[in-house]
Symmetry: C2
């Protein structure tokens, strides 16, 4: 039985640690032009859920617990209480969040989804113009890889090799076969790219989301397990968990979009359904969509149980993804 | 005395090797949406000079020669003749070229420089629209880091650590304090960003170019020296060489822009001078600009001579940068 109170404490502790780390690593004037620094921070500190970095640190924590180095069962108050694994995984968690943020900035541009509201605030390009919004996104992607690659001089080569592998996992998710490929299919389905609008069936929609949302969620979890020293089997199990979780996350997103109001979501509700982009409720109806999301969450938890990774927060995060209202 | 004939052979061999490697690593359908793959290739294979990857492989070659593993003095016919160091440096060379290409795609967008012609062809957004152009740029940046991070399983941890350092050098150059910061200052100087247009004096212009052009040219050379196993001192010397070279490159670019015609340059000549962006000829006049470029090339070659790295192609590349007509 999941205690939601303690999951909240975990998520709060992770968010505070992530925000503090991002504040430390994001460039400041005079090294960085002030306008660019402001624009990057406007979007990075816009009050996001931080789902992806939470997954990274929860996966690192789960691997540490499974290896007997558990961080204790009491809810942690801060990253210090999360154990050594979370500290090793922190740069990967931050990198993932920066890549996620850059992708939202570019998706919101008039040349793409043309969204003017995100998390209840004007989108970046509305405030700073398209040029600076494009550049802030570009810079956030580069920052992600820079912070992950940064190493103290004379660092352990084995740890450096592990970081290079985590970086490869994250870059694979971010590239044209992953995140950017998914956004391309989304653009084509919406008729905003050259050529005839792409007609996506149920498999096509699932493929688009697996790239656009799933790839980075999987990389978030897998890179956490890897940085904590997880075995190939543990990394693969966490990756399977996250693939199912990512699918459920997207289905719930589509359901909330149909049901929600602009006030609750902080973005224009019903937008996806009003355009020509197919959604799960449009394809399967609301009831079947809810059942599909619940099935995916069951499969996600099964992947954990099969690999001895069920003692930690990953299961509770899965429940939260299914039950969230915003 | 530089034999231009043999430098041409070196540059041709490098370009063929780089183009073949880029063709191998760029994603293809069905893994990548066909439209995105086409768009990426349209810009990557647009007939660029490949100055940056040439610097990477020439720096690797120079370090190898200085260590006694010289590739011979005859002009190489292909990368195989360049020695082992060039093979080690090839992923870095490709990554640098992909980052350079992405930055050109985004700089050309209507929200930035609004250029419709590049290397004699319509720019990417003219052909594929702004949305796909933004995404192709995003994907190329991610591809750069993905190809650099990719490692065969069971690879040598020491070599992985070296790759991580090369990746850090390249990511630092690409981020907000480097490339993207330079483009931000350029946008601000041109009055295309919020707030009053930035008034750049001679130092300000030099700082903008050091970020926008210089940072990646330095990373190109330094990462090549590093991947070839160069000492800290060798990497630093190559970095100094490239800093002077980058400055000369930019001054010559400005001079050619004033003197050249659209036909010769493949882009709209005089554009920089007609906007409000300050150029070297506008600040110092043509004669003084030419002298400044020549001084920078002298300093670049001095950095090589001081470090025993003058036996190779780096010196000839410096002469070529000064004497180029396009």
């Amino acid at each position: 039985m999941t205690e939601i109170g303690s999951l909240d404490a975990f998520l709060d502790a992770v968010r505070r640690s992530i925000d503090a780390a991002l504040d430390r690593v994001l460039p400041q004037p005079p090294a960085c032009p002030a306008l660019l620094s402001e624009a990057m921070r406007y979007s990075v500190f816009a009050g996001g859920k931080r789902l992806r970095p939470c997954l990274t640190l929860a996966a690192a924590d789960a691997v540490e617990r499974a290896a007997g180095g558990a961080a204790g069962s009491a809810p942690p108050a801060a990253l210090d209480d999360l154990g050594a694994a979370a500290g090793l995984a922190l740069p990967a968690a931050c990198a993932i969040e920066l890549i996620h943020t850059y992708s939202l900035i570019h998706d919101d541009l008039p040349a793409m989804d043309n969204d003017t509201l995100r998390r209840g605030r004007p989108t970046l390009h509305v405030v700073y113009g398209d040029g600076i919004a494009i550049l802030a996104g570009d810079a956030l992607q580069a920052e992600a890889f820079a912070l992950l690659a940064r190493e103290p001089a004379g660092a352990d080569p084995a740890l450096a090799a592990r970081k290079l592998r985590a970086l490869a996992i994250i870059a694979e998710a971010a590239r044209a076969i992953g995140l950017v490929g998914g956004q391309t299919l989304d653009l084509q389905a919406g008729g905003q790219a050259p050529g005839r609008p792409l007609a996506l069936d149920a498999d096509g929609v699932q493929d688009m989301h697996a790239r656009k949302t799933g790839a980075l969620i999987r990389a978030a979890a897998a890179s956490g397990a890897l940085m904590a020293g997880g075995s190939e089997a543990a990394v693969a199990a966490v990756d399977r968990y996250a693939a199912h979780l990512g699918l459920a996350f997207q289905i719930v997103d589509d359901i909330l979009d149909v049901e929600g109001s602009a006030a609750e979501l902080g973005k224009t509700a019903g937008k996806d359904a009003s355009g020509s982009k197919p959604t799960y409720p449009a394809l399967f109806g609301l009831d079947r969509s809810r059942a599909l999301a619940a099935e995916s969450i069951d499969r996600a938890k099964q992947a954990l149980a099969e690999s001895g990774l069920e003692h930690g927060w990953l299961g509770a995060i899965a429940d939260w993804v299914l039950s969230r209202r915003s």
